[in-house]
Symmetry: C2
Subunit: 323 residues, 2 copies
């Protein structure tokens, strides 16, 4: 962190996104790339991604002729979920009941697509720095016919910990973090947010329920309300850190679904990862490049320092405070 | 790739870097952050990074009190290597003998630091988009007291393939790619460049010797000359792709060094990875974000399409052609 920075500085985002733009395909009433017209939705709105990376009928690559050249069909569906009818809000600027509606939609889409697919990945790319190409508040849902790589690693780790210690890894991990306190960011009746011991991004956090919960649809109404409220607090702290609409990628991981949903997934604990790229200011990011890509992640500040900074930030949004 | 792009566009770099800037700490004769004055070097120049991420005397974190909270000291040294006394050149614009001098320096620093450390990571972050904060042509060398994560994975894969098949994974892999041809970019007497079957970055390549070579210092003079020439061709193609100074992170992987250097590392084959971020143009990059961070990498074009485009590009640099 002592290194002087003469490298890339990110362009600051235009703060003036119009509340409604009839040409924005994510807005209520707008026409999408496939010609469909969006309803005049008032809460969340889920639709098929017009440029899907996964398709239900991807062809089979045929048998492999060599152990080093193996391929399998990756089938699935890609959906987009708008969080709100307005383009000029983000989750931390939405009300707790509005965030609660997003959580309910996440739970429903997990159930709906999880009936068929073993993995339903809900993720949000927020901000141009994270490859988001539309400022309208939204996330994506990609359901796949396979367990993705990262998920397979989480499955192996949680499975092996559970078989050795007889309880879920993330339950014991949460208990330890609640005792040690140094990496905690927020706690509530049902949830906790911490900078994990293994964090690689400067202000990376892990959000998880205190109770053993395997998947989003299992959350009780009280847990959902409490989640909406802790999300609002976390995302407000993030925005307050550099007084900017804080970019990140986030997503949910829970027990696999699909035809194996009934198997024993007791080693799984539901959680969300937040991966924000900023390091020093609203315009200077952490680059995961040379050494990180070729060898190992390395941190510019410790998880404990990051947690301390996040803890100290106000829970009132800098934009709302100014009003 | 059909998706319209309304997202982030990278700032185009200033093309006018002064050849010599007495205030640039990488230039010959300049004063560095620690007060040392650089020699008036004429070829390559190796010095200690003034802001090292690894230090030889990092303290021991002490014994762990819990299986989920284990830490070990990461010790090492970080060096910087300037490729050339001029700031306004890049490897593809340097002559083959000048590139050969860089290769010789890479081999020497591997020997020098490899005498003590089990891993010597040579890597180049090229371009502001890849976190490079100084336009002067240079790379970094980080030697560590441990095998980094990515290296441990390569060690396991190569080891297990060798024990099952009796020959190095990358030797058989190269043989297959030479037969199949569809992913080849360049071949020479001693080297080949291909877009690997498992590539995740749009124009990612793998550069490796045809002969079984475990480490850079083993390369013969003829192999080094040939490497300089194929590197110049590859990097010229890269620059020509979008008529820009093509950003990338690259680095070398070879058999571990240090006190275990004498062990049997026959399963290792020396290779370099090139990871360039650009996707559509000089200013639109591939974002490895949401789905990629939380689930699995996904490509916007196939390795075969990328190889075909790279193969078709001229081997004369667009800047030199215009002169
Ligand atoms: O050492 P540099 O060039 O200042 O820093 C660059 O390379 C490092 C090693 O890949 C990264 O950790 C930094 O994020 C990046 O900005
Ligand atoms: O689908 P989008 O938002 O257009 O695209 C964004 O998210 C995808 C999934 O993480 C990435 O593959 C793309 O690189 C990124 O630009």
């Amino acid at each position: 962190m002592k290194r002087p920075w003469q490298g890339q500085v990110e362009p600051l985002l235009l703060k003036t996104v119009p509340r409604h733009d009839p040409l924005n395909p994510l807005c209520p009433g707008a026409t999408r790339a496939n010609g469909e017209v969006n309803p005049h939705y008032e809460g969340t709105f889920l639709f098929d991604n017009d440029f899907p990376a996964l398709q239900p009928d991807a062809p089979n690559p045929g048998p492999s002729d060599h152990p080093l050249f193996r391929a399998e069909a990756a089938r699935g569906v890609c959906k987009v979920m708008c969080f709100h009818p307005w383009s000029d809000v983000t989750l931390p600027l939405m009300s707790v009941p509005e965030i609660r509606a997003v959580i309910d939609s996440w739970a429903s889409v997990t159930e709906e697509l999880g009936a068929q697919y073993p993995w339903v990945q809900i993720f949000e790319n927020k901000g141009a720095m994270m490859g988001c190409s539309n400022p309208h508040p939204h996330c994506q849902v990609w359901a796949s016919s396979f367990l993705p790589d990262v998920v397979q690693r989480e499955e192996r780790s949680q499975q092996s910990y559970h078989s050795q210690h007889g309880e879920p890894l993330l339950i014991e991990y949460s208990r330890q973090e609640l005792l040690r306190k140094e990496r905690l960011v927020l706690t509530s009746e049902h949830w906790l947010v911490l900078v994990p011991f293994w964090a690689v991004w400067p202000f990376q956090t892990l959000l998880l329920p205190r109770r053993h919960v395997r998947r989003l649809p299992e959350l009780t109404p009280a847990e959902r309300d409490d989640l909406a409220s802790i999300m609002k607090k976390l995302l407000t702290k993030y925005d307050n850190l550099f007084e900017t609409s804080f970019p990140y990628s986030m997503g949910w991981h829970g027990a696999p679904t699909g035809s194996e949903a009934g198997a024993n997934w007791d080693h799984w604990q539901l959680h969300a990862h937040y991966y924000p790229p900023l390091l020093r200011s609203a315009t200077v990011r952490k680059f995961m490049v040379g050494y990180e890509m070729l060898a190992q992640a390395q941190r510019d500040l410790t998880p404990e320092q990051a947690a301390e900074r996040l803890r100290a930030l106000p829970e009132v949004h800098y934009c709302l405070g100014q009003k």
